[in-house]
Structures are given as C-alpha cells and as structure tokens.
Symmetry: C3
Subunit: 172 residues, 3 copies
C-alpha cells in the first residue's frame, strides 16, 4: 500500500516535470492559441534550415484580429505596450516553429535574437522592450529559451510595426 | 526513327533544364556581367567560410561605373529606384560568391538576408525595396535562392548608400 | 658551438612566433587587462554555443570605471572617440570569450561582425568607427581575427551607448 502511494507520487512528479517541459502545454497553461504562421509579404520564406539550425525571418507583432501592432515606442506606444508587442512577436515566431517542426519539443535552443524596436530618437530602453520577447521564450522553453541577444532602436520598420525580431533556433 | 526523336526531345528537355539550373547562364540570359568583387574599405574581408556556411559582408549598390548608388528612399530615391539599388546589391553579392566559389553552381541555398534600407522616417515599404534583392536571387538561383529575411529602415549608412544587405549562404 | 648558436636563434624565433600567436600575450603587450564580462541586463545570456560556433550578445563600450561610453558620433562624440568606443566593445567581447572558453587560443576565427554606430543622420563614416573593433580583433587574433562585417548607423541604442556590436566566433 505504502509502495503504491510512493509510486503514484513519483509518477505524478515525473508527469508534472514532463508537462512543464512541454512547450505546447506551457502555451496552453497561459491560454495562448498559436495563430497560423503569417505568410511572408514578398519573395522569401518564413524559415530556412541548414543542418540543425533554423533561421527565421523577421516578424512583427500581430493583434488578435491579425492586424499589425504599429507605432513608435516613446511616441504612440508606452514601454509597456512595446513589451507586449515584443511578446506578440515571440508568439508569431513560435507559430512559425510549430509550422516548421510539427512539435515544439524539437526546439533544442533559442540561439540568437536580434530585437529591433521602432522608437523615437531619445528612447534608450530597447532592452526592456525586447524583454517581452525574451521573457516569453524562457517562459515557454525554459532554459532552452535562453539566448544571445542584441536589442537596438530603429528609425523605420515595415508598415510602421512597433517591433521586429529575427531569430536563429537550434533544432533536433 | 520515332525512338530517336523521343530521345532527342528528352535530351533537349534535360539540357534546357540543366541550362536553367545554371546560375551563370541565367545571369548571361539577363545580359548581366558580374563586376569584380569590390574590396572591403577597411580591416575585414568579403566573406568567411565556416563548414558549409559562407558569411558575406554587408555590401551596398554600385552603378555601372563602380560608384555608389546613394540617397535615402522616400527623399532622393523613389521606391522603384530603391528596388533597383537592392538588385544592384544582389549583383555585388553574386560577384563575391563567384570570387569565393569559382562556380556559382556551388551555391546550395541563400539562407538568410538582412536588408537595410536608408530611408526617411515615415517610410514603411522596406520589404518592397528589399524585394529587388530577393527577386533577383530567386531569378538567378531558383528555389535555392529563397531565403529567410528581415527588411528594416536605417537612419544612416556608410557613404549614404541607399541599401546595405548582409547574407548567409550555404555552399557545397 | 656554431650549431648551438643556430639552435638558440631558431629557438628564440619559434618562441617569439609562439608568443605573437597567443592572444592573451598580445593583450598583455598592449597593457590591457580584461574586465569581468558584464552580466546581461535582462533575461538573456552573453553567449550561446552551437557546434563550433559561439554567438555573442550585442555589447556596448565601457570606460575603465565600468560605466558606458554614451553619445552619438557626429554630435557628442568625434570619429576618433567613436573608433575608441568600438575598440572598447572589442575588449568587452574578448572578455566574454575569455569567460566562455577559458583560453583565448581556442578562438579559431572571428567570423561575422554587425557593427552598429549610434550617430547623427548625416554621418556616413560608420566603417571608420567600426574599424576600432576590427583593427583590435586583428591586432589580438592576427589572421584569425579577420571577419566578414557590416557597419551601419543607428537611430537609438540602449542607454545611448555610442556603439553596439554583435559577433559570431568559430571556436575549437
């Protein structure tokens, strides 16, 4: 009887550990449904794989209705809205990863992020904006989500999107 | 006799297919002669190879006389002129590839493009400018030319060039 | 006797050649003590390794007291000060490499540099600024320091740092 309880406890622990290591479950826990990966707006593709590296195209942030989150941080958007926009870009990229890999458990490491913030000239908190992207990747992929990164301020972005991020991902 | 004709037709088809897969022939068909790869303006090199990846330095657009195409898109240059400038950068990069590889058939995949447009603040059509680069790569390399991409707007570029692009290429 | 002298001369030559190939000795010769690699200011890491490639996060220039070198080149900073700032970023990156690799002799090649200069709109000498980074890498790593590069002008950088550079390094 005692043994059965112990085994059940161990089983639950293993299960919960497995659960927390499944990025798709983490998305579900956060109530996030991945959108369809948006099609590139020109003669290029969402991702190219070379060996075990996946190079993802730059993406911008989308609202729930599929339209772009636009505007400059420090003018039309606050820092908090910029952070939320960067998180939305992370969701766009995860949607691309899901479409490319089938299963997000195949993500081995988020390797390198270039985070570009559409901002006013005096704005100097690009890292706090791109944290919206980085924090979300770590929330979903755990230690595998920890990446090298640059965060910089841009003069102009396509369709005046608030943030554009490009990323390199190691896959299994 | 019938068999000979069939074989000849198949032969021609194979030949034409082989032809269309030769990037150097495609360049010839377009009447484009590659310039000599321009020398870096400082203490760096045009390309570094690691394994089967070739990292190419950022290049700008050159006129036929070898001088830079300069100016900001949305001010000195129209969208169409920006597109043509981006195409000129593609030609510069293909010249580097030719110098590095000897034969352009060794290009396995154009992997990742970062397209930077020198533009005015209100300009939001960076993807349409960088299409000049992407469309040309696909015209010359076919499906191997399809890449992951970011297209962004820059505040200032070296010598006020209209466009700067850097690219990663997978080679055989 | 003659033989002994010849052998000594050869020994000295070999030694000096070995010395000049040791990046840490070159740093010492220049009187440079590496700082502790600065901790990332957010939810990311200084470097991610995939195979034999090390992706380093974007870094800015630090003064001897550990504070940032700030300001726009062409406004608060001259070209020469920008060059010095870019060199300071190289030192920051070498400090990261030392922390990651233990021994700088493990650097096989500085592969690819993206040099971003915080500048005024009319400024067009970004390559001359980023030379501060490139020249230093070549001074320390010799031919292994020669890299592919882009040098561009930014609208705004974190904490108004003068220069931000990201780099990919091949390691043994």
């Amino acid at each position: 009887m005692k043994k059965a309880i112990v085994l059940t406890v161990i089983g639950c622990l293993l299960l919960s550990s497995a659960f927390s290591q499944d990025p798709e479950l983490r998305l579900k826990e956060k109530g996030i449904t991945l959108p369809t990966a948006s099609a590139p707006v020109a003669n290029y593709v969402n991702a190219v794989r070379v060996g075990n590296l996946l190079y993802l195209s730059g993406k911008g942030p989308k609202k729930a209705d599929g339209t772009d989150i636009t505007g400059k941080v420090g003018k039309e958007l606050t820092l908090e809205q910029g952070y939320a926009a960067a998180q939305a870009v992370a969701i766009s990229h995860i949607a691309v990863l899901k479409a490319e890999l089938g299963d997000l458990k195949k993500v081995k490491r988020i390797v390198k992020v270039l985070g570009m913030v559409n901002c006013v000239e005096g704005f100097t908190d690009q890292p706090k904006v791109i944290n919206g992207y980085s924090d979300f990747m770590v929330a979903i992929f755990g230690d595998k989500g920890k990446h090298a990164r640059s965060a910089v301020g841009m003069y102009a972005l396509p369709n005046n999107i608030a943030v554009e991020v490009e990323v390199i991902v190691e896959v299994e």
